[in-house]
């Protein structure tokens, strides 16, 4: 795995030619660096419907640039493999027929090598195009390229979480990347940080890149609240388990309790008990559960039940965003290459909340819904966000699998309440 990964700049739609190409190239290379530890067999497996094979991610992100940049804007462009459009379209109903998502793992060809050749072909054409196109074409195409860069960063996060799931299905517990273990002390006591009531402006305001679901900027009234000073740890979550948290229906949402029983959940995803001791599958293989680490791979149901057990609640996304506005974007992101949340040093304290960015996505109690006045963009790219605004909850802050250049205070991630395979964790909130 390459070591000196530099961040792509936050691109505005008007990024100049060279900067755009550099950002493009850097992101495209990073996808390939993430695959360096894999053997060919790892690339083709789909371990559950939510997971896509790594090879699919590599091809799909290239198809995105081919479909939305090269085909509409480069008259002479011919796809080397027009039939890939069917295989590697994800969910853009308006772009044409597509291969059924749960069947992505049934396809052995194109091979991994052919997929890399396809990537390279697209990269060369994009590079030629960006360097030579007219300025007015560039103005039109730059926002799409920028969207494609951020789209690829999203798939990079999925590549990390998906390959973790694939490897976790193997009783041999394969290792993606060896990491040193470290002795860890429990972090400082959780404090409560207070915020006053506010008729606040929320949503993205600026001239950089943002997803349509982060706007429009709009007002919400937010009552006074308190936020936990740090993430909940494995050690704290173990107390919930040991207190019978998974056996007490009164702690759970009704559909959450049904899920606990149907799936026989007894702990976060990837935890297993061996000889009375909790172990967890990580991208460094099977390890003992470390109490000082932030708890991870819990569903919304579990986060919500934990909060109820702890006599608190999850934050709303507005509360989270107001607190995050004040903080620098720094933390344990994918560029660190830990591929795992890391403990807070025992001595770390702060007047401001810690671990807001990176480590784990933080479940909020907000359903994923459109902001006041939201309209999806016209055309195929309008299918990006809006159509998923149903039966999902918002997560904020990014994780150890997110690029630091990908996150913003207004960034809204979203998953169904039973999803667990992303790096998802818990921060508490409460009324004053």
């Amino acid at each position: 795995m390459a070591k000196n990964i530099q961040d792509p700049p936050v691109l505005s739609p008007s990024a100049p030619r060279q900067a755009l190409l550099e950002a493009y190239t850097r992101v495209r290379r990073f996808s390939e660096q993430l695959c360096a530890p894999l053997v060919i067999e790892d690339y083709v497996i789909q371990s559950m419907p939510d997971v896509s094979p790594t090879r699919w991610h590599l091809a799909h992100t290239s198809w995105f640039f081919e479909t939305f940049v090269l085909l509409p804007h480069v008259p002479a462009y011919e796809s080397p493999h027009p039939q890939y459009a069917y295989l590697f379209n994800s969910y853009y109903n308006s772009v044409g027929e597509r291969h059924c998502r749960p069947k992505r793992g049934l396809i052995s060809r194109p091979t991994v090598q052919e997929t890399y050749a396809y990537r390279q072909y697209v990269d060369e054409r994009i590079s030629d195009f960006l360097l030579t196109c007219d300025e007015n074409v560039l103005q039109k195409v730059a926002p799409v390229v920028t969207l494609g860069i951020h789209h690829e960063q999203q798939h990079q996060e999925l590549m990390v979480t998906d390959i973790k799931h694939v490897l976790s299905c193997n009783p041999l517990h394969p290792v993606y990347l060896e990491q040193p273990t470290y002795p860890a002390q429990p972090p400082a006591t959780l404090e409560w940080i207070s915020y006053p009531e506010e008729l606040a402006w929320l949503g993205y305001a600026g001239d950089g890149f943002f997803y349509d679901n982060e706007g429009p900027r709009h007002r919400e009234f937010v009552d006074a609240y308190q936020l936990g000073s740090r993430l909940i740890t494995n050690g704290e979550y173990l107390q919930f388990i040991e207190d019978g948290g998974y056996q007490n229906p009164l702690l759970w949402l009704s559909s959450g309790w049904n899920t606990v029983q149907a799936e026989q959940w007894q702990a976060p995803l990837y935890w297993e008990k061996q000889d009375g001791r909790w172990m967890m599958m990580t991208l460094s293989g099977l390890r003992a559960v470390e109490p000082a680490e932030p708890v991870c791979h819990v569903s919304f149901y579990e986060a919500d039940a934990y909060a109820r057990w702890a006599d608190a609640r999850l934050a709303t996304e507005a509360e989270w965003e107001l607190a995050a506005r004040l903080l620098p974007i720094e933390g344990n992101f994918v560029e660190n290459q830990t591929f795992h949340p890391v403990p807070l040093a025992t001595s770390t304290t702060s007047e401001l909340p810690l671990q807001m960015y990176g480590d784990v996505w933080e479940w909020t109690q907000s359903a994923y819904l459109p902001y006041r006045g939201y309209r999806p963009a016209p055309g195929a790219l309008g299918e990006y966000n809006g159509k998923f605004m149903c039966n999902q909850f918002v997560l904020r802050g990014g994780s150890c699998a997110t690029s630091i250049t990908h996150i913003r205070p207004t960034y809204r991630n979203f998953f169904p309440p039973d999803a667990r395979w992303q790096f998802m964790g818990v921060r508490l909130a409460r009324e004053v």
Copy 2:
């Protein structure tokens, strides 16, 4: 079916003894009046997991009074059938084991006659108790009896919608209650009524009965908006159908589109095409679809897709509540015994929105979530509302199967986005 149904008063927890007993008796009798058109065979069928047999509703509502009033407060009380507690508990995990919901239709005994005897037994004991208990006991028990009365009204609505579903499964199209047909003219053009922005107080404020999910009273900022002056009609919905609404994925939420395809939806529930003509199953049997009637038995997905097609959106529950505050509670409720939404007279116009109460529940775009500061009540009755706050959407205003004394401007009904068997319809909203 009895004709002179009088409304139970809106009860406050401090209702005096006689008024409480009268309200109790009136509601209990009404449940039985709703069953008058049924044959015994109708009482036992569960046509889908969401539906309960009528006999179950009759027994469960009695069990509620036995469990939460008689057993805790009448020392000498002995249940005539202690094993009913297992059969007729619905979802109160804290009260003990319960019979699996989807199996309610497998139970032929107790018979309908035995169920009525059980109801009568409970009624006599409640009556004795309410007339004779100490005043301080009455103070403690009155809120629970009042809750039981409203609980029974909810089950009355379900009895109507469930028996409609049961009868709709029968190719013979049985009739629950004959109703005269009427010639209907299309209603007046839909107008848009404007409301200014407001930092509003929302949720129940008063000293009558309300459900815990209607509070706490709290502030929300609501931007300026417009509301459609009336409900959407079958005629308007038919245009959506004929314009290919059910074939165009771009109009639908992603999970909605999946449902349309999996369930092969082509029209609202209960509609079927016969010889090229749309017919609908009603509680008066199979009838031609009447263009002037409010459209009914549509899911949230369909309401949302219709709104998108109409270049509008659904209202938020805050918007609906602010508009409803100003209106008298009147409309086509279950006391009318139409058991069906009715057309608006063509000449009806108003500066205020029409049909806000009664006819059909109105889907909002608000996910069903706790209000700021919400805490469920302690004990078993706390399982009433809060644990369903996930993957459901709020509906407002009541329907032709709701009691007029059951509804309030702050009343929050909720169902998953694919539910259709309630009387559910569409009102549009939009930005100014």
Copy 3:
């Protein structure tokens, strides 16, 4: 329940007019006598896809006579309810569309009373017709009426087993018919009765009624074999359970073992352990498992596994038929109204096998396949037997729910290997 039930004669296709009508009437009445203990609610429930509601059986058997006798042969006949043809056709694809089998329990109308009226209507028309039709018409129609009589007897057996399943789903353990309990001693030791090798003629030969699957008569070579002198008892089967029979995969067919695990079988159907003691649901309610009774409600998988555990095997249907030819048809049939297998007196011994007829159907190791030269009858009645010749096993000898006039040495019953809700038991065989 009526007490003096006389047997209908075994009818040949050429039965004279009066005898035919008497047989018809006697069988029709018996269906109704079987329903005497039921309440209306019992008639409408379908507790699993294999089970039909009692009301359906009553209507379907009447539909059979209407469809195959009255409509084709009585020119003036008009069905009072032509739409019943859709509801009460079972599986005759060639007769027209039919209501989906698993939905039989969703239909509350026609009511039980209407169903009896329909029966009576058909009975009167059949009676008129049989008394007045021309002799040559009678010759043509008598075989169909006779088939209808036997068809109704089959449904009588299903009515008994289906209502048992319906009542068993009720945690209240309702009683169909109280029966005295009796002290029972274990039967005499199981002996082995030897039969020599034979090139045998098998299948029906005679001029009475038989089903097409009992012919053509044909030769099979049967090697020398031994047959157990009596049925396996609950006491013997308990030893298999206590020896870990349900935990040892080596005793089971592969698909049987999968079923044991998926269904978590630990004992025959209707057995449940209460306070460490095996109880069983019977048509007389919940009772202790009686060791002396023949084991009942076991699947082919369990019968086969038991036989393997006992170092024996099940008989082939040829072996069973050769042994049964020599025996009088007598035993514990439905006319006894025990509705349950009965223990053999301890002192009973015989040179010939005991309990071959009645009590429980005996699983054979023969797959249900056509005999050499088998051709289904032309027309709709040809759908009766042949199309089920796949993935089923043959059972022989009738049960306590079978009419004594319905059984023959050549009679072939058949069910899939995981079916258990019929009265099914075990007789062992082995090589010499």
Copy 4:
């Protein structure tokens, strides 16, 4: 793909040391030759639960020799990967826990290369062992090695049929091995060859290798019958399709008709209509359906329905075996490397049935049941055949994916009646 494949000799359990090792080596090499056209990605995919990844077949067959030869007989042997026992056990319950069959496609490691290394390790140890072990050890171990050789041949057939299924799931229609196309003329008219009645000895008699399900040798009476002179062709089957065979329930077994409707079968597996023309996926890619070829990839249900449509029936396995005894074992086997059934030359005629061996397995109408006196072998190897004797039908004669040295007149293959992914076809029979 290697060209000069020589047949392994038919081994008797007492094969001398060198011959045994040569046979072992030849079969092991052939498995690897079959994989030569594959890319690594092809090895890991499981396209349906019945299919195993090629890599799994390669490892499982090696595990077989390790488990049943090396571990019990070579005291110093240590498995290089003891955990493979869990991953590559197929269904031997008595050998220990095993990885769930439908999850074989979720495992990316061991890699293909590691799997080949494991094979080589086992091969070297087996080779050393067979060359050096004591003669009395050899006598004990030779039957197990021989069983392992035949076991591997079975998996070779599955490798061919499984990779065909995997590639067929790919919309790109990848090619396993290019084959020349050939113009083909329809074969000569189908003739009927007559056989007299016979009290026959059936089952294996000899001193070569055979599976336990081919014995014991026993007598059956077989009436006179006729057998079709050749296999049914695509052209003949197309007439069945065009005559509405897939739309007529009267031609089908009941469970077959359910399958036709549930799976929406309209033609054999791998057929698809393009622009009104029937195409078929083959191991040489997508090709037009060739009318002269034997029809292939039909289920028992389809073979049975075709026979009924053709006013004939399928043969019993006894009838097939009696006819086959008289014929030399020759035909289109896997050694030909056509990987597809081939047409009969138009001019070919014979007094004896043609195409009995090779090309396609021939469905019989015989359920797969134990022969009289059958007992599985003791120990784990006894789990090989007997436990599958339920709900399967027998096929005879081998196919273009079978080794010529693997087949015998008494060889019994078996599959459930809805299986289609093997090379399975149709020969007709009828009464005289």
